[in-house]
Symmetry: D3
Subunit: 313 residues, 6 copies
């Protein structure tokens, strides 16, 4: 099947409130049919406080009908450059935390074998761990937008939850800590030792205060140089954004990114060797207006463009 | 394709928050493949006051994942009796009122030719007119649950809007007024002459006060005798329900049906010769909790059961 | 000015979302011009728990555009029987509780002198006291729909608040306790002695449990016989309704009236000698969907009809 | 400590919006100090669809400040009959389903040893299983109000979730199926065989349809005779109520109980030998208006009264 | 009548929650009586996706009671410089798109003949077209704040909708494309050719990215030089703002203006020859908190000040 | 009792949704036991427009469970530097404005005598007056973040309301106007003379426009120099923030601070001689998402840190 088979419904022909609710109004597809596979992982059993991210994929599909085809800065449509399709949701058991991780990693191993790059929609942040397990067997780089470092060792004695994925991924050899950068970190923490693991491992943490002081260009130039040209994964936790832009999430922290800043940072990833990306922690029960899911859907479009090479000026 | 091909996703295997959002978690289908075709008509340009019902099909699909397979009173599943599928939405132009009516009637003429009976999800109540145009060329009977008679002649000089469909359908010979019954009518009206057309034509209007006095059994026995065994259409306006049960609608009227009463009335349609049915006027922008769409989805299941013969004790 | 000058905007000519927002889309008027004066009292400084009823008049005006002209049971329009107009709001100081009571009573004394009967929109229930002060100098009868008896002696040492108006009114000789009936009372109370004053004074309290057991007809027949043919005031606290019908109020109590029951009870007041009425305690900040204000507006229409003689079968 | 030490804050002295937020404004206490221990179990990891009930205890505490001291039907205060206190929340790990069950059962074993009867606030319905494990070692009777039988064998291959607690409790010898009655059951089910276990075991299921037909008195008389005078547990799932009364729950089903009916049924438990009770499945993220938590708090008061002997006429 | 007759109600005398709900608490007026006529156009039948802007004028009136008299930067009140009044709503038929355009243009032709400059409150953006038809017969300049260029040729084959008004206005000779500037444009588009018409015609489009780079001063200096001293219209689509500031609109796009930026830009219009202005696309059904209407009301005040000459430092 | 006795519950041990709801999950305490006393003043009877701030303390307690222990910029925990505890709410009569002021000032006089510095949670802004009366008998300095100057002389003839506290405090000799600075002032005002009192007295008003132009560093340097090293009070009105960050307040004004700016400004208070601070005007009924209360709780943590010396880089 060709690119022509993977075009979104046109908002000038089929009203955006009509028709099936798929990611960006794309056709349903198998990973074998596409270059970039949009996949939902409706799982939030790794959440330590407010659950609800399991409902993220459905609402992001719903709100993504507000997104259109062509990036306004470049005038280029990612759908003219790659085949992208909605490959559905991973069917994941909310009652079995460790079993669910296996289900997810198996699913993404299949996506990887099919030759598609995944663009993943969470779910809570724990899902990044099994996605990485599925798509790489050696350490990759990471550009990570988040309010939280998510490198805790455990919560309530449990080592697998949405506060620990990046520590686990480093320990498991899925991420190369020297090629990891975390941007936007902020908020009161439980322990001053929280960042010790990250620092000892060589992970670069850019607090929001440093970001504000240095600006987007300097920070993203550094981020690009940290990951370099080798294989890199991008993880975007919606709580990286300020709660005024993204209230619908489980662990909001004030003082975060504006959407303008987020868009500029994602566009600055152009040309990197991106093997996959995710957008996580949109929690619809805390998002009555739908604005967080809408914002998530738009950032997903920016991520798709950068993976397809469509939004760099 | 057989009945086995048209089973909803099982809530004990695929979590209800996962997987594609279709009516009752059914597969997408063409009218040719099914006995009963669930179809959305996302159209509200016939609305005289508060719009939003165009978003009804999507939200009812979303909330219908709360519905399961087997009717609890009879222990029978409609999906074991008929092939039912989600046949998508009619692609309808919100900017061209009369053109949209033609699009809708053509679509349903196709459904009719394919041999499927439609179970329609609105949209505002004007859509009943083109659905009837599509599926019948001679007068049929009508059982109509509503707060409003919808037999006005015009609003703002316009003869085609959600306050007029049943008058137009009678005039066009699509409905037999002697075989029409309207149940639940109430609320202040613009003109005392409002009901004159209906009465002159022989339409039986059962105000909510009469319903309360006589009870469900007597009213539904009369309704059944009015339409008899000949071809009959069922139209359920969600504002027939009291706003406490269905706040998300454009023209709420207090003093309406409970859901218990509505379920009992729909079940009392068992055995009638139903050629199609609709559920209209769910307006998601006025339904922030989603309870109206959820209620609509459940009543849709009851309507499906009565069309399939699954919910009569 | 004649009745023709006091007709609501017609919903078939001027869309209900257009035009000025007045009570029932009526013209603004002075009390001198009308028979029944709709008046807002945006005051809630007598509230002991959750404030917000000061915003009631505005939202009830807003939602009252959903109400139309003619009562559906009788086919009669109150606007064909009496001159009714929107006489605006009393300008009342939220910072001076006792001063505000004087402002309100002076205003209603003026309405009374002008010869109009007031139909009042609160505001919290304390406003009934100054309304009565304004319109009567001798004890009148009372039919009172409420979850609470509002005959406490004081809260926090204060004798004038929304839990005490009927005790004060009896003490001040504005109400004749032998001609008072309270219907729908329920909910846990602070003191078992709460009802002692009422009982000692001879006020008839009909708890919701008695109402459920005896039914609307018996209860309203008793209520009518209690007040008899002499001058009577009607006070409807929206929290008489169950919170499922009227969530937007400061002191909700479960187990209350349905709107059907409320409508039937108000209609059963037909023919009484009603010198004024109020509908109080709609609190828009606790009513995000607007359904409580809409319900209040509809009950206001029923009250208007009973004052005009338009809704008795 | 005496009964005088366990009085709620008085709403006429301390405004209900002030002061600490505890269950019914009671003092914090240890189980040793009280006769009836109000305890929160903020756990929802047994939820198969929409999570959020973990936030139930906090919001029910919050809304319970609307509840007062004395039951209005009897004029009796439970706080004059028993010592009741807020014994806090069980500290339960959301990430370890089976471990959490052990934590909960240990906690309630301690309550039982201390001689207090628990009045439990969920959390999802799975918590009833470990509560029973903690307070009894032999089969007890059960009166169970719910939309769902919760006697499934498993979901997604998992045997411990909020659809299975009563099957597990029967299997473990904690409940005597011959002394079990489930009232209010309704809604489409996944399998017709769903109720086979219950029926084979001898559990009495009263569907909502039977309830409507026979009425409260007959149903509750039967329920009382089923459990008899021996030790009995009461479990109230808030989704037994219709969603119009209790929208804030994970698995709403239309056609449920009114709050009036629920209050009457709980009061009809007077005189039974109740060893404990729970109220579960209030899910604040789906309850933006707080009305479900407020309703839950009020039913908790009715349950407390029946355990204390204060609300029987 | 003099300026003294057109003063808003004073918030220190009449509480802002009291009194009639008019634009900025001004008196109702005819266009003949005022210099600047505030007029609502409750029309959204030109909407291609999410309707609701028809309710804009009412909610903006409601929220405008939060606005006061004197601009804080200059200490000058526009009400001391011009006579401004609330001239009501255009009575417009939601069911007849082309007819409605005629009604609107006739109304504004009357305003123009009366000598008043209109300050218009939408309604969807299509209304700008008939407003221009009413107030000019030759091309004027335009300063246009928006996320969207609104220069599409058609949607669903329809040439008159809220995505096309500026193309139609240029074609009809109402706007001079060489004197047009659009500021804040962004968001994915349906076609790369979207902007071709605008560019070919000579319209200056300033994307949000250019705005961010160059800053308010440079952009507004250019905008002022583009329109020069000749007759100019100002159109402000609320979706020019970021959705965090204005969620209540039909087509939100992330990455938009802050309110600070918007205020600064409007103030920078001081001294231009403004013949009229509008503020459109506030959609109350998507604005549950009312913050968008409140923001719209405040920007309306800034527009009024610039038309009156009161907010330039 | 030592610092070890005043540690918040740890979010890695006790889930944040569990356990008692106190400020920052701290133990309840008496002022005698602590260095810094967190105290709620649930009072809003000084509100001139939209009430609701009386519910602020409870919701800020609730949302403060999202706050953790250690400031991320410094790695220092205030709870390791000072003893801080939740000292409950002042029991204040909503029905007696002047009496309530006396209750509040007496309470804080007690706190002052106990040797604790108060960190106060409102309530409306009028409460700052009695707090000052309680803790100082001579003029102190003030750093005041707000959209409004709150130096009006009266509203509706009343001199004690939330628009007047700072004028009264100057008049009463509680504040030294020469050591007062107000930052973020903006929004249309009732009278141009509004600021005359402030200017005459020597109060420094920094409008938001000046703030934007000069930047945080310059403004805060000036603010610090104005108050100098002598005793200073800090008052933070949540409406200083833009409504996109803090919608839940009674008198929102667009164009306000971001949370980033607010955090930076509070941190810039490090080292000042702060005798007490407050955070006021969070109004939960206007904050359905809870984001304003969450923001308030986080700023409260920043204020606590600055009082403890923990958040300066």
């Amino acid at each position: 099947m060709s690119i022509a088979d993977f075009q979104p419904l046109h908002s000038g022909s089929v009203p955006r409130f009509a028709g099936p609710s798929t990611f960006m109004r794309l056709p349903m597809a198998t990973p074998e049919q596409v270059d970039i596979a949009l996949i939902g992982v409706p799982f939030d059993s790794g959440t330590t406080n407010r659950p609800g991210a399991r409902h993220g994929p459905r609402e992001i599909r719903n709100q993504s009908s507000l997104v259109r085809r062509v990036h306004h800065v470049t005038g280029v449509s990612p759908f003219d450059q790659v085949r992208a399709g909605d490959c559905g949701d991973v069917v994941v058991n909310p009652l079995d935390l460790l079993g669910a991780l296996d289900t997810i990693s198996s699913f993404f191993a299949g996506v990887h074998r099919a030759g598609a790059r995944p663009l993943v929609v969470g779910g809570d942040h724990l899902i990044t761990l099994p996605v990485l397990r599925g798509i790489t067997s050696e350490p990759v780089g990471l550009i990570h937008f988040d309010a939280h470092s998510d490198t805790y060792d455990e919560f309530f004695g449990n080592r697998y939850n949405h506060g620990t994925p990046f520590r686990r991924a480093v320990e498991e050899g899925l991420l190369d800590p020297k090629r990891m950068v975390q941007i936007g970190i902020r908020g009161a923490i439980s322990d001053a030792e929280n960042y010790d693991f990250a620092r000892a491992a060589g992970i670069r943490i850019i607090f929001i205060e440093e970001f504000v002081e240095r600006g987007i260009d300097a920070v993203m130039a550094e981020a690009r140089s940290i990951v370099g040209g080798a294989r890199t994964y991008v993880s975007f936790d919606i709580d990286a954004l300020d709660p005024s832009f993204a209230p619908g999430t489980g662990t909001p922290e004030i003082g975060g990114f504006t959407t303008r800043e987020a868009q500029a940072m994602v566009r600055a990833l152009a040309g990197l060797n991106i093997i996959g990306a995710d957008l996580v922690e949109v929690s619809p029960p805390f998002d009555p207006s739908g604005v967080t899911a809408m914002t998530g859907a738009t950032l997903l479009f920016e991520l798709l463009c950068v993976m397809a090479g469509s939004n760099a000026g």
